[in-house]
Symmetry: C2
Subunit: 340 residues, 2 copies
Amino acid sequence: MTTEEIPAKAKEVRLAAHLEGALALSHFELAEAEVCEPGDGEVLVRYRYLQLAAVMQDLMKPEPNLPMPGYQPGAPMWGAAVGVVVKSNSPDLAVGDLVEGMDGFKEYSAGPAGDYFKLDADAFPSPVHYLTQGPTAYHGMVDIAEVGEGDTVFVSGAAGGVGSLAGQIAKCRGAKRVIGAAGSKAKVDYLVNELGYDAAFDYHDGPVLDRLRELAPDGIDVFFDTVGGEQFEAAVQAAAPGARFALCGALSGQVGDAEGAFPRLDVMTAIVKQLVIRPFATYHTPEQIWAWNSHFAQWLGEGRFVLPQTLVEGGLEAAPQALIDLLKGKYTGNVVVKLS
Amino acid sequence: MTTEEIPAKAKEVRLAAHLEGALALSHFELAEAEVCEPGDGEVLVRYRYLQLAAVMQDLMKPEPNLPMPGYQPGAPMWGAAVGVVVKSNSPDLAVGDLVEGMDGFKEYSAGPAGDYFKLDADAFPSPVHYLTQGPTAYHGMVDIAEVGEGDTVFVSGAAGGVGSLAGQIAKCRGAKRVIGAAGSKAKVDYLVNELGYDAAFDYHDGPVLDRLRELAPDGIDVFFDTVGGEQFEAAVQAAAPGARFALCGALSGQVGDAEGAFPRLDVMTAIVKQLVIRPFATYHTPEQIWAWNSHFAQWLGEGRFVLPQTLVEGGLEAAPQALIDLLKGKYTGNVVVKLS
């Protein structure tokens, strides 16, 4: 059964060609595809929101150095999206159910019910609350960096999808002082005024190490890094003894000067300080997703957390330009495209 | 009371000038100093063996980046030595007791009994067994890298004072395969034929990464690094998922090209592999010393371990040239100067 009219065809975004050089609209292909009739045990989902992330640029490369499959030319790109079941031939999902799926560069998705994760529509104010990089931020800050009471924390890329959550998680876990770096005055203001960062700075404003020495004179206990490059190198120098480093990305090298993904490690300083350096990936296991969602809902309910999110209008056809803009640092927080 | 004739004066080695540039004999001063009469609660010790270590070169610099005090021009250098109490005004130590002290660039040392650590002369075949870098190798391999059954282990600087012990410790702890890198064919042979390494290579023989891929096709689970530079960078590429890195030094940069102490960290590869990178220093706490000595004695007794040590003859006056030779890679194992 169905409660809405289903079109015969719907839009999807495919990879036009593997990414070499700078990302451009020509790497994407907006196509129309038939909306499939779900088979036995399958459902049809109309996606409402698609999440964008910096990692997608790497997935567009011929051989992405990542723990997940890259995009293939001619095939639809994949990414997390939430939507509503509009047809069901499965006892596991009913029409109207809110679900998350991973083939989100499509307006409609058909597949086995088990390919979709059923969401509790009442847990959050809006479905977009499910489209965050929270599992990564939570796993990194809590399990990897083991942030705790009294810590001085430095988050690079602090206004980004992961960083904008990581700093708030640190505060909620009792960190004494949370410092963020971002790429513009507006983002710096956003960190301090909206996200509860204790201090923030624009990494363009002189050497990062000078800013860290001013803002964390007793040193950094936790470094949550999404940027690499100069910010990683400065954090080693500004670290307190025993500091824990959770490395989640190297965006400075992924989108700019490639050397940013290969910062120099000052081994002797790291030895004297006995740093614990933990590069980590988050596989979004059910445990990781549950840990994040339960704490997120609790902290939201207590008024201690805000959802840093940019909602891009314009439907699926707006997604390619929005991804380009995301990588240029145009947005703050998690970036979600509202599908039509 | 005393059982041997004590001279009025004895030799000591002082730092002549802070080290800038290449280490040379001119940085050392061989001097004669009065042999002090021990005061109340003090003892006089005649040192018999002095341990040399690569870190001494760093201690000669104006501002060593190390967790211990550097040497001062005009003052005696310090280092671990074992000797025998020859005069005692303390109830805690008796004439004839074997002790370890830290002001070992002297033939005679006087000071409070508490400045010397009493050794069990029967625990080991010879007093020189106490002069190893075992606490560092043991702490790094066991506590930091958590080596265990089935691990494939790579040790850089494997013929050196720390590395020559680290590989044997890994084998004794059940590692499946231990691979060492060293700087000459003779050292490579020594590793395999004398120290029980499963495989070894000369790091001059082509890219280190090629050798690692040949010798550890399934990847490295543990990397014990004393060298830094290319060997660190290659180990990241050759690491298995979840590999643990214990970083104990960066000798390639400490004695050669300074960049060796600042290797590039390939952040994205480290993230995908979820490496655990732990630079560490060993403070030779009583627990660390005890942990090493007890296992060392046990493994020696079981015939599973050899003491890799070079004994340099010629008395204290031979120590400066021996330290220069050590840093040039002339020796294998722990280097000890036999005092006259």
